[in-house]
């Protein structure tokens, strides 16, 4: 039996209409023209660069890289198939899911890019503003619309912000890139405080939402935890207030030094009160009627989202209990890779893109097609990409989990490691990236093999291990309980270890470097010793990060640098 969407609207994301499609076609035509002007020489590379970046096209070490937007991480099965087709036809048969819920293709030819964008447009997709000094893809909670603890669906607001920021006339040449994340629950699953703007929604008194607004968070070479700017921003002021923040940033953000150009530096320079004063001055001076977001618009956008047509739970939950009892490996997978659903008889499933020894976030076109089929059969045709580089099926019947798990197992996607030490975030690193100091992928693979044993991982418990190939921190190493940072040590690739970072719901902190850099193999061994130390000193039920906070880093540091 199929769970394919009943209505014409795609479940979980905004349905394009003819106007949106015309817009995308115009955008493709514009880019085709820009590519021609570049090839003819009418545009210099310096002039072309921001134009291609605004279409997600980077020039990397070996080829162009194309970053495709997956707004709030949600896509339909047919869109996933379009990505598979691009991987197969224009890349080397795979793609890479990123921590900003997008997908990157690493082996792209400039001349073919307009055709790829055309193919994407046919699937209601694009690469607009996935790069460049503009407002980037707005990210949201991967369990949106499904989580039992959700207050409201953040995707509706992420879509409103996506539309509002698309080719925004004033904010397309900002001092630096600008990232917004939005969470629909008080459980922060989007790392809101590591974004330029982080929004946390909750229900307001009149039944309409209000937002806590955080500003000035970020990773990169200067990691900063965002500060709270507003506690209770009403829905109708959402756009006006963001306009005000961006106006202040566009006017005062530094442009003399790209390393000091992010909004976090401006917030630090003015102080949070000084910054807030300017934003409020701008906010009170602006024409409110023009920028108001009325309830009717929110509801109009919401009405373009398909909603799943859930069935009765029946005896699904009991069946699941039986199946878990009968199969220990399945039971482990259910424990780690499923999340509580608000609808009785359903669960959200996280499919790990991190098999033992694999490359975090890399998915082949065959796997993409399989995921699309599974979404059609089991989850209303909807898929989500998480900021931890995994894929989520949002709404799976509990009595289908066993079948699903078996298919995943057969296709290398059944790893039961979500939230564990091998659920590693890693950036592309020196294998692809022109800015890298070191390769992130091989060390991720070695660590993933080292800790591959399911029993060992369960013994270690929740642990976030993040790897970046350089100080730009695309792999979120600052936010890892254990972070690994690639550095250049006299011309050699080397790695520093950080401890104590977190972008968890309860606490946000930045990891501290514990000592000098080591080689790849030394680093892997040092991490194994850190884990051994943790297993020895932890108290019952204490997670790695809790132990780290309780005992500090000294004993871990001693362990890391102990030579046997």
């Amino acid at each position: 039996m199929s769970h394919a969407p009943q209505s014409a609207l795609p479940v979980g994301h905004y349905a394009y209409d003819d106007v949106d499609r015309t817009f995308l076609k115009q955008r493709v035509a514009q880019f085709r023209d820009q590519v021609e002007r570049r090839i003819s020489g009418a545009l210099t590379e310096d002039e072309f660069k921001p134009l291609r970046l605004m279409n997600g096209l980077y020039l990397q070490l070996h080829a162009y890289m194309l970053r495709v937007a997956i707004p709030y991480g949600v896509l339909s099965s047919s869109q996933m198939r379009a990505l598979a087709q691009i991987a197969q036809r224009y890349d080397r048969d795979y793609g890479h899911f990123t921590t900003r819920q997008n997908i990157q293709f690493n082996w792209i030819k400039l001349e073919e890019t307009p055709d790829i964008l055309g193919l994407l447009a046919d699937a209601d997709m694009h690469a607009i503003q996935t790069s460049g000094n503009c407002i980037r893809n707005v990210t949201a909670d991967q369990f949106a619309g499904a989580a039992a603890d959700e207050v409201l669906d953040p995707r509706v607001y992420a879509e409103i912000l996506r539309q509002w920021s698309t080719l925004h006339p004033e904010f397309t040449f900002l001092p630096r890139k600008f990232k917004i994340a939005i969470s629909g629950s008080s459980q922060d699953r989007v790392a809101a405080r590591f974004h330029d703007i982080g929004l946390m929604a909750r229900e307001g008194e009149n039944g309409r939402p209000v937002f806590e607004v955080y500003v000035g968070g970020g990773l990169g070479r200067t990691p900063v935890v965002g500060v709270k700017l507003r506690d209770d921003l009403p829905e109708e002021d959402l756009i006006a207030y963001l306009e005000a923040i961006l106006r202040v940033y566009n006017e005062y953000g530094r442009r003399d030094n790209m390393y000091k150009a992010r909004i976090k530096i401006l917030v630090q320079a003015l102080g949070v009160d000084g910054f807030r004063d300017r934003v409020n001055a701008e906010f009170s001076a602006m024409d409110k009627a023009r920028y108001k977001l009325p309830e009717t618009i929110v509801e109009a956008i919401r009405s373009r989202f398909g909603v799943p047509d859930f069935e009765e739970a029946g005896n699904g939950p009991e069946k699941l209990v039986q199946q878990r009892k009968a199969d220990r490996a399945f039971d482990f997978w259910v424990q780690t890779n499923t999340h509580k659903h608000k609808q009785a008889g359903y669960a959200s499933v996280t499919i790990s893109c991190k098999p033992a020894g694999g490359i975090p976030g890399d998915v082949t076109s065959a796997q993409m097609n399989l995921l699309a089929d599974l979404a059609d059969q089991l989850s209303f045709g909807e898929l989500r990409i998480t900021h931890l580089q995994n894929v989520v099926l949002g709404h799976v019947r509990q009595d289908k989990l066993y079948d699903l798990w078996q298919v995943l197992e057969q296709n290398g996607l059944g790893t039961a490691n979500v939230g564990f030490i091998t659920d590693i975030i890693a950036c592309p690193g020196l294998d692809y990236c022109a800015l890298a100091n070191a390769r992130s992928i091989p060390i991720a693979q070695k660590l993933s093999e080292r800790f591959a044993s399911p029993d060992l991982q369960r013994e270690i418990g929740p642990l976030r291990l993040n790897i970046s190939g350089c100080i730009n921190a695309c792999g979120h190493h600052h936010a890892g309980h254990i972070g690994i940072l690639g550095v250049d040590k006299r011309g050699q690739e080397a790695f520093q270890i950080t401890l104590g970072g977190a972008a968890d719901q309860a606490e946000v902190s930045i990891g501290q470097i514990i000592g000098s850099a080591m080689s790849e193999d030394e680093t892997v061994d040092a991490i194994a010793r850190i884990i051994d130390t943790y297993l020895t000193v932890r108290t019952a039920g204490e997670s790695f990060i809790e132990t780290c906070r309780r005992v500090g880093t000294t004993s871990f540091k001693d362990a890391a640098y102990a030579t046997a």
């Binding site: 209409d17 106007v19 015309t22 817009f23 115009q26 955008r27 035509a29 514009q30 023209d33 820009q34 002007r37 009418a42 002039e47 921001p50 134009l51 000094n133 409103i160 539309q163 509002w164 920021s165 698309t166 080719l167 925004h168 006339p169 004033e170 904010f171 397309t172 040449f173 900002l174 001092p175 756009i239 106006r247 566009n250 006017e251 442009r255 001076a285 602006m286 024409d287 023009r290 920028y291 618009i297 109009a300 956008i301």
Partner: protein, 162 residues
């Protein structure tokens, strides 16, 4: 330099006054530092001010009713501050005169400029007008309000572009 206004190339009749030079008669554009001097002229022509991208438009608040033109400068196309300056001139200071931009501007920025309230662009001598026209015609819809009185169209935040 040719001036692009409403899709047409026009002669530019404004004279830009260099830093140390005496103020001529006729329509002149002065740097912000010489605004008072410019205002001191007697009916010798219209007055405009050239703002650098780091200047605050607020400095024009008093003088604005007596100005006919504000010229904004892009030192490089990536410096997006003139977009905010133009929008603020229209939205906060209700400036109704000409806002023109000079310096390093790309045709691909033309529509953004217009939607921020810019009325004319100083083009490089070798500019291809057709490219600018094409940039203006590239899109028929926008997804956010601007200071132009564009009509909301159909759905949500959309505006029809002309």
């Amino acid at each position: 330099m040719p001036l692009l206004e409403n899709g047409q190339l026009k002669d530019d009749n404004w004279q830009s006054v260099a830093d140390g030079a005496a103020l001529p008669s006729g329509d002149i554009l002065v740097p912000l530092s010489r605004l008072a001097e410019g205002l001191g002229r007697n009916n010798e022509g219209r007055l405009g001010v050239v703002l650098q991208s780091g200047d605050s438009v607020d400095a024009l608040r008093q003088a604005l009713p007596r100005l006919d033109c504000v010229q904004l400068i892009f030192p490089i196309f990536r410096d997006g501050r003139p977009f905010t300056q133009a929008r603020a001139l229209r939205e906060h200071l209700q400036f109704k005169g000409e806002i023109r931009v000079g310096g390093h501007v790309l045709p691909d920025q033309y529509e953004f400029l217009l939607r921020c309230g810019v009325s004319a662009v100083l083009l490089r001598e070798d500019s291809d007008l057709a490219v600018w026209q094409k940039a203006h015609d590239a899109f028929t819809v926008a997804y956010q309000p601007s200071v132009l009185e564009e009509q909301p169209e159909g759905f949500a935040l959309r505006r029809r572009l002309f």
